[in-house]
Symmetry: C2
Subunit: 163 residues, 2 copies
Amino acid sequence: MGYVTRWLDDDEQRAWRAFMGASQLVQEELDRQLQRDSGMPHAYYAILVKLSEAPERMLRMSELAAELSSSQSRLSHAVARLEERGWVRREPCAADKRVSWAVLTERGLTVLAAAAPGHVEAVRQSLFDLLDPEQVRRLTEICTAVLDRAKAGGAGEPGRRKG
Amino acid sequence: MGYVTRWLDDDEQRAWRAFMGASQLVQEELDRQLQRDSGMPHAYYAILVKLSEAPERMLRMSELAAELSSSQSRLSHAVARLEERGWVRREPCAADKRVSWAVLTERGLTVLAAAAPGHVEAVRQSLFDLLDPEQVRRLTEICTAVLDRAKAGGAGEPGRRKG
DNA sequence: CTCATATGCTTGAGAGTTCAAGTAAGGTGG
DNA sequence: CCACCTTACTTGAACTCTCAAGCATATGAG
């Protein structure tokens, strides 16, 4: 523990605050838009999207959690709420009785279809309308680099076990 | 509204998911690190930092909220908790009795000083160690562009009034 | 001066997230 | 076939955040 802390220099400070600020801002804008216009938080929207893209529109809870980088606990609570609303249904798995499938219902698909246009519009306003194509390319590259480390087994990702 | 939705193309999809993924990942890593090592969420840490940088280590609640891009409600709840821990103290304002000052206590400063090195280390691991200086420069530019629109009076920022 | 409105902040209820336990089922070595 | 560990998922309590009201104090119009 005999470290001397390497503080952030001015450029790093600026970068850090800009990144955190932009992250927070975009997240909150999206969350607010979805809550206001479609009555769901962004996390729930993301669940519906993932299910809609899956074969048969169903995924095992653990797969779904992994795809969303979400903890199993969070997903379990969320799917419970989505089930109450009739947007998602759970089905037991015959082959492995521990597993449960999350299935997007017709009603869930309808709700998602209704929510999507407004969401996309909000995404454009929060991000893409503000950046030129070159910036978008760079942002993708940078964020991918950040994400790759996590997948490569960095410390402390939620809902994942190292392996 | 007779709009035809302009969906995201493949590049935009990738950019969007990378950005959201990286934002979420970094936020959660930082939150977890601070919670684990210093027993506070990142939002509370940010409050302590802002106060520590202010003259006399004190700010009016509304100023503090504005600097943090936080709603007044959130800040009020948070400061209540920080007060219970003795890290922050509230003081009434003689000139305007509606105002209350949030003041960083000695104990709060000590806690912040103890938390900071681990936090900075986590920031490096989550972000700066993964990027070269040119990428950091680009990230700053991009995030600043995203933030500037909000300050320039975009729709729906939390805890702010337009004007 | 007085009433209406705006401002600064707080409060309470409802919701989502987290962490730590807890249940149940699958797999394995003896 | 029986303990034992792992895997898949759920549950409950504590905590934070949000939204909508709710005070109390300025401020301005008449």
